[in-house]
Symmetry: C2
Subunit: 324 residues, 2 copies
């Protein structure tokens, strides 16, 4: 088996070969730029890892891993427009560096390139892989829509929130592993179990993100905590605290959220104090651990030897039980 570092290098070399600027330059140069500003390359790595773990040839999975990375970057380019984000990974976003039309059209062609690369997989797996891909791609758009809807929706339950993050983030991680496993020649039931493993891992990963944004160590996370609180972002923690406040007829949180002028540190401290009243952090940890357990349960049922299961187990620690 290859190490994650080896897989990353193989993927990056392939990306560099394929990600060329061709004519019309104004269409392809922005994508070339966006793809070389970095990122964890998590999805292609999960895909290649899944192929590797089922003893498939990772060379046979490179095109699919690039397809998934292209698709993911297409969603980022369009999401940045929708969020009016000036920066991505510390670099200027496409619509800022070029313009709105470029962000739309270069994003569009990137998503079609994703399809083109997906069609390069071994033909005997193509239809199966493609059905996983389209189902997932549609879900990702639905997740993004729910995320937009939640900004203005009066009441969002924590179940609705988890369904949103499942669609927006988790299913693409899960599909990456499933596609990798399919291309690695895994049995259908194992590809399904691997999907469940990664789907639940993805939800836990996102919940951990919400926790770290409030309780992370600034030095490790690399940014000041409380960013989500300052923006009234409906994370799992805030949703929990709102639910508890409403149940207890406690108006404090509602008043803080309605303030248009405030001191950032004060707001963060006041909200964290309310989280404290309702054991919101513990609720988040409990939910996170529930999804980790679901992930482990799926993992245990997969038909793999203990050494390979250990690799997948360590991925849980690496991705979720992190403090960065």
């Amino acid at each position: 088996m290859h190490s994650i570092e080896e897989l990353r290098n193989i993927f990056l070399a392939y990306l560099q070969t394929e990600n060329k600027i061709i004519e019309p330059k104004n269409l392809y140069e922005p994508n070339h730029y966006f793809l070389q500003i970095g990122g964890k390359r998590l999805r292609p790595l999960l895909l290649l890892l899944a192929t590797d773990i089922f003893d498939g040839e990772i060379e046979q999975s490179l095109a699919a891993s690039l397809a998934i990375e292209y698709f993911h970057n297409f969603t980022l380019i369009h999401d940045d427009v929708m969020d009016k984000a000036p920066l991505r990974r510390g670099f200027t976003t496409i619509h800022e560096k070029y313009n709105l039309n470029t962000a739309i059209l270069s994003g569009d062609v990137l998503m079609i390139k994703a399809c083109e690369y997906l069609a390069k997989v071994n033909e005997k797996y193509f239809k199966t892989v493609f059905d996983v891909y389209t189902k997932t791609a549609i879900e990702v758009c639905e997740g993004q829509q729910y995320d937009i809807d939640f900004e203005t929706k009066e009441v969002v339950t924590h179940d609705e929130y988890i369904e949103m993050i499942r669609l927006k983030t988790s299913v693409l991680l899960a599909a990456s592993m499933k596609i990798g496993a399919i291309l690695g020649g895994a049995k259908k039931e194992d590809t399904e179990l691997l999907y469940q493993y990664a789907e639940n891992l993805g939800i836990a990963f996102q919940i951990q993100d919400d926790i770290l944004d409030c309780y992370g160590d600034e030095k490790l996370v690399g940014k000041q905590p409380g960013g989500d609180i300052i923006q009234n972002k409906k994370t799992l923690l805030l949703i929990h605290a709102i639910e508890k406040s409403n149940a207890n007829n406690d108006k404090r949180l509602d008043e803080i959220l309605k303030q248009s002028v405030f001191n950032n540190d004060e707001k963060v401290n006041n909200v964290l104090a309310i989280f404290n009243t309702y054991n919101t952090k513990a609720f988040g940890i409990e939910k996170r651990d529930m999804y980790i357990q679901k992930s482990i349960d799926a993992l245990e049922k997969i038909n793999l030897n203990s050494e390979k299961k250990a690799v997948l187990n360590s991925l849980i620690d690496y991705l979720v039980m992190r403090d960065f």
Copy 2:
């Protein structure tokens, strides 16, 4: 064989069955709206016609025909954003009726739905059909990029213009017929010839559009002639007149194009007078007829009986030699 009217009714009934508003409504309702404001449904009809003409079962081609219509509407939704167009077919465009983010995201999901429907074709043809589709979809984006580039490009040759309209408009018409023929069980060489037939027909169709915008009968075309001239739109005719003006060191056209304040009728008349000097209309007709001839040449080589060739021949008259 079915008549065009029968094919249209079958397609529209299928569209109505499939085009449902599901959750999240804010994602799917805009597409439902956009797809029911009409349009000629030219691409799905060409696809179904091609299947029919090769004695295939059109029911087997309905999903692919919807895929093409979905893809085409995705490009229209995003093009309307890029062109800042308030209306499409007399109805409010998505970004105007809803907002920019809705136009981007609903467009995105529509293009993925196109892939989903394409995957419903008979599995033995799927890979072949899908490769035609992705190649074409990429070309359509490239055509749109060239169209954007040409707005600010100093010199556009008429060959560059024709390549742009081939990519932006023609290849999707051609791919529709090719996919229809593949699904109808046509031989490879016949699917290629049908592609050439429709590709050249599409170019002739677009040139005729340019001619009608200048010389069409207002009552038949349904709009005042000269719209392209008023907007300085680089059509084949304007490009020809610019090329001739430059060759003759004639500054009149250049001066007219640079005017920021002008009377519409006067501008149209003055430009048409210059077109007249250089036989620009005749040049347009000559080019159009050259592509019609290429279309006929391809048609003649297709392995079809004369009755079926006559249907395709009448399509040339219907689509190109129109005065509306």
